[in-house]
């Protein structure tokens, strides 16, 4: 387990910034109101090409475990591919959802198709953030604000308004259904 290098940090942050706004800063520097001990500082650690987000205290404790024996620490954000790109996992949803810049709320009749791995059609969209450009990362939520996953917009908000009800508005990237569908491979290295 090791900290990230500079290019890795840049790749990770640019991926996270696809979905979140400037409030991403809170991930690195917690608000001053919380106890600002050195141990409670949150850090990113890389282990077997996966990136984990955890407190420094836990990361330090984890150094006592041999590398082959260590399976996971803190929250897994995603993994670096062999080409050096970063792929976000569904486990990162809890971290990006509170800081999301653009959101899409799906109606109850659209929840199941999304959780089974489908894209979101216009008919299933309950509401969405205004002024959202094309191919922009969005967080998908239930109508009661429970995050379900994330994806990328197929069209801008203005174009979506003219779209027929069966037209795709958001391409799915990850959904919480993966916890069941990808159960065997999600946490294995």
């Amino acid at each position: 387990m090791r900290p990230l290098t500079e290019p890795e940090t840049q790749t990770l942050f640019s991926k996270l910034a696809n979905y979140t706004g400037p409030s991403l800063k809170a991930l690195i520097a917690p608000p001053p109101s919380s106890s600002s001990k050195e141990d409670t500082r949150m850090v990113f650690r890389m282990h077997q090409s996966r990136v984990y987000y955890c407190s420094l205290h836990i990361a330090n404790l984890a150094t006592s475990i041999a590398r082959p024996n260590l399976l996971s620490v803190g929250t897994c954000l995603g993994k670096f591919t062999k080409t050096g790109k970063f792929r976000l996992h569904i486990t990162a949803l809890d971290i990006i959802a509170p800081h999301a810049r653009y959101k899409v709320w799906v109606k109850p009749n659209g929840e199941m198709p999304f959780l089974y791995g489908g894209n979101i059609v216009k008919a299933h969209v309950g509401r969405w953030s205004e002024d959202c450009p094309e191919h922009q990362g969005v967080v998908v939520l239930k109508m009661d604000d429970t995050p379900l996953g994330f994806g990328v917009t197929a069209r801008s908000t203005a174009e979506t308004k003219r779209l027929e009800p069966t037209g795709i508005t958001v391409f799915r990237q990850a959904d919480v259904g993966e916890y069941l569908r990808e159960e065997d491979t999600l946490f294995t290295t």
């Binding site: 090791r2 900290p3 990230l4 290098t5 500079e6 940090t9 910034a17 400037p22 500082r41 450009p133």
Partner: protein, 181 residues
Amino acid sequence: MAPTRTVKSSMKGAKSSSKPSALGAKKKPKAPPPKQQKTKPAQGPAKKKRRVYTDKELGIPKLNMITPVGVDLPKGKKKGKVFVDDQESMMTILAIVNANKEGQIESKMMKSRQMEEIREARRKEAEARQEQRKSKLEETKDSMRKKRKRKPDVAVDTESSDSVPKESKGGKAGRKRVSFA
């Protein structure tokens, strides 16, 4: 060192041979030899100090060699990865990334807005053209209708009102009739 010395001795020898031997023998023991000897040993050590540098020491690349990227590490640089673990440097990276993303989103929005404007303008133009075409069609339709209405009027005006029924009667009369009694 050695070759210079030999040259001297030869010169001396030559001089001595040209001049009478008695004179040469008198001069030799006096001044010149120690002076010359002093100067020449002084030149010798200076040449010795000149150091020959190897290509490696000077950092001269070897000719006709291709060194793949990453194989030749820069001198005086630490080996291995440079980690980013302090909050400040992470913040600066994040600020750069955020600024980049902001710019990208802004440019996307601008582009989409422009495209929307262009599309709107095109749609309006097309609508106006359609309207024009429609109005032209209506016009021609109206003119056709008027013409059709006018023609019977003209016929009525030119011919006498009686002639028309007559014609019609004549037409009727002219028709062949078959009756079965």
